[in-house]
């Protein structure tokens, strides 16, 4: 892949069909996590995988559409976070392209960065819409703790988001990383935009 193609908007059919699959994976991941009563959401595995497979543009599209779909089928509030999901897709897509999914250690870094970016993007949204809170019990408890210790509201809000996003994104990126590493070429090479036909 050359630099232009990471951001190329000319998308193959396979890459486009990857978006609904990614959203489906997000959904099922979330469902399995709640079925198994795991303490995390794990609802962005598909977005992260799509970014790893097809780059930041598809990753971002998967993220945005994921939240829109969730908005029209279940919870309108989630539409607000479409921007956060897009940021997750872009972060993972860019870092994957720059070679940051080469090892477990690096994947942890990707997870941390992604969680941090997600919190960074969510904070202004939370400030605008709900006065800085997230509606997550642990996050809001932490927010309360910070506020009552005279931390400025925006910083408390950021803290709230960090508590919510970082652990989940680290685990999500790690799971996605292990799945991605195990994928055979026959499944991954159809999403690449760079391959040429060799003449024999």
């Amino acid at each position: 892949m050359n630099k232009n193609s990471m951001w190329s908007l000319k998308l193959s059919t396979a890459a486009i069909v990857l978006i609904p699959a990614a959203i489906g994976i997000n959904y099922i991941g979330k469902l399995f996590a709640s079925l198994l009563r795991l303490p995390l959401w794990l609802d962005s595995i598909g977005t992260v995988l799509a970014s790893m497979l097809a780059g930041p543009v598809i990753g971002a599209a998967a993220g945005i559409i994921n939240n829109i779909i969730f908005g029209i089928t279940a919870d309108p509030i989630s539409t607000v976070y479409a921007i956060t999901s897009a940021a997750i897709g872009i972060t993972v897509g860019v870092m994957a392209y720059k070679g940051w999914i080469a090892s477990v250690q690096k994947a942890v870094v990707v997870g941390l960065v992604t969680g941090f970016v997600a919190a960074l993007v969510s904070t202004p949204l939370n400030m605008i819409f709900w006065g800085g809170q997230t509606g997550n019990i642990w996050g809001d408890a932490f927010y309360t703790f910070l506020i009552s210790n005279d931390i400025p509201q925006w910083l408390a809000s950021f803290g709230d988001s960090i508590v919510v996003d970082v652990p989940d994104k680290v685990v999500t990126v790690l799971i996605s990383y292990f799945i991605f590493k195990g994928l055979p070429n026959s499944l991954t090479n159809i999403y690449r935009q760079d391959s040429e036909i060799e003449v024999i």
């Binding site: 590493k181 195990g182 994928l183 055979p184 070429n185 026959s186 499944l187």
Partner: protein, 267 residues
């Protein structure tokens, strides 16, 4: 001897559509094919036997011991079920690990699991592909991996759901050999099939299900000449039987060799 007994089984997915009402079936050492249209209840039946679905009424037992309260995971040591679509189970990055997964879950040591897995892979003819990624192989090969992953668990009973779908001639021959081998080892074999030729060729007993009811149950040889009953279940006769009937012979022919011998004698 293994005997699996279902008595007076009732089951429904939703209150208004019942699948089984008072179904009785017993399986003994004979290899048995279950045939019928989609929706006849074949898969539901084997899921009940495997403990994946709980009947609303009736009893299930193996060798007289009730298994009604056992979960699918607990039954995994005794009853193996090879699902139709291998893509519903494969998640490991190489063939050997995938096949070892089941045995390890039911308490095999790594050594035993690997030994069992390698033997099972040899039986399905994939011993040279142990370190391949399953998704680099074809769907028909993945079906054989799924089959091996159940064989490796060495259960006393093995149930197959449509093992021959998408298999070529060689694949079907392999499955036939495996079934006969399992039978020789004294295991209880049950197989859901859409392929009447394979059913006639391989199985001793055939059960015809239609809309949740057993409409024919007997020796394969006695079942397939029943053209009218089969038609009721939208099933066709095996080619050999069709040929014999087209030639005007109504005796029961279910193997190619039988018909050849018969025609030779007539000459």
């Amino acid at each position: 001897m293994n005997r699996f007994k279902l008595k007076d089984i009732a089951f429904s997915y939703s209150p208004d559509v019942s699948i089984f009402e008072g179904l009785d079936l017993t399986f003994d050492s004979q290899t048995t094919a279950i045939v019928g249209q989609n929706g006849a209840g074949k898969t539901t039946l084997v899921k009940i036997m495997k403990g994946l679905l709980k009947p609303s009424k009736g009893t299930l037992s193996i060798d007289g011991e009730s298994i009604a309260d056992q979960t699918a995971a607990q039954l995994a040591k005794r009853v193996g079920l090879v699902f139709q679509n291998p893509n519903d189970q494969i998640f490991k990055t190489n063939v050997l690990e995938e096949v070892m997964f089941g045995p390890l879950n039911i308490g095999f040591s790594r050594f035993e699991a690997e030994k069992g897995a390698r033997e099972a892979l040899k039986k399905v003819g994939l011993e040279s592909k142990v370190s391949d990624n399953p998704y680099d192989l074809s769907l028909s090969e993945r079906k054989l991996i799924a089959l091996a992953s159940i064989l490796a668990m060495d259960t006393e009973m093995v149930i197959f759901d449509e093992p021959t779908t998408g298999q070529d001639f060689a694949g079907k021959e392999k499955i036939k050999a495996i079934i006969n081998e399992l039978k020789a080892e004294g295991k209880l074999i049950l197989c859901i099939l859409h392929d009447m030729d394979f059913a006639a060729d391989v199985f001793e007993r055939t059960v015809v299900l239609n809309q949740g009811e057993v409409i024919l149950d007997g020796q394969t040889r006695d079942v397939f000449p029943e053209k009218n009953v089969l038609e009721k279940a939208y099933l066709e006769q095996p080619y050999v039987t069709q040929i014999a009937q087209a030639l005007g012979y109504n005796d029961s022919f279910i193997h190619e060799s039988e018909l050849v011998a018969f025609l030779n004698n007539k000459k």
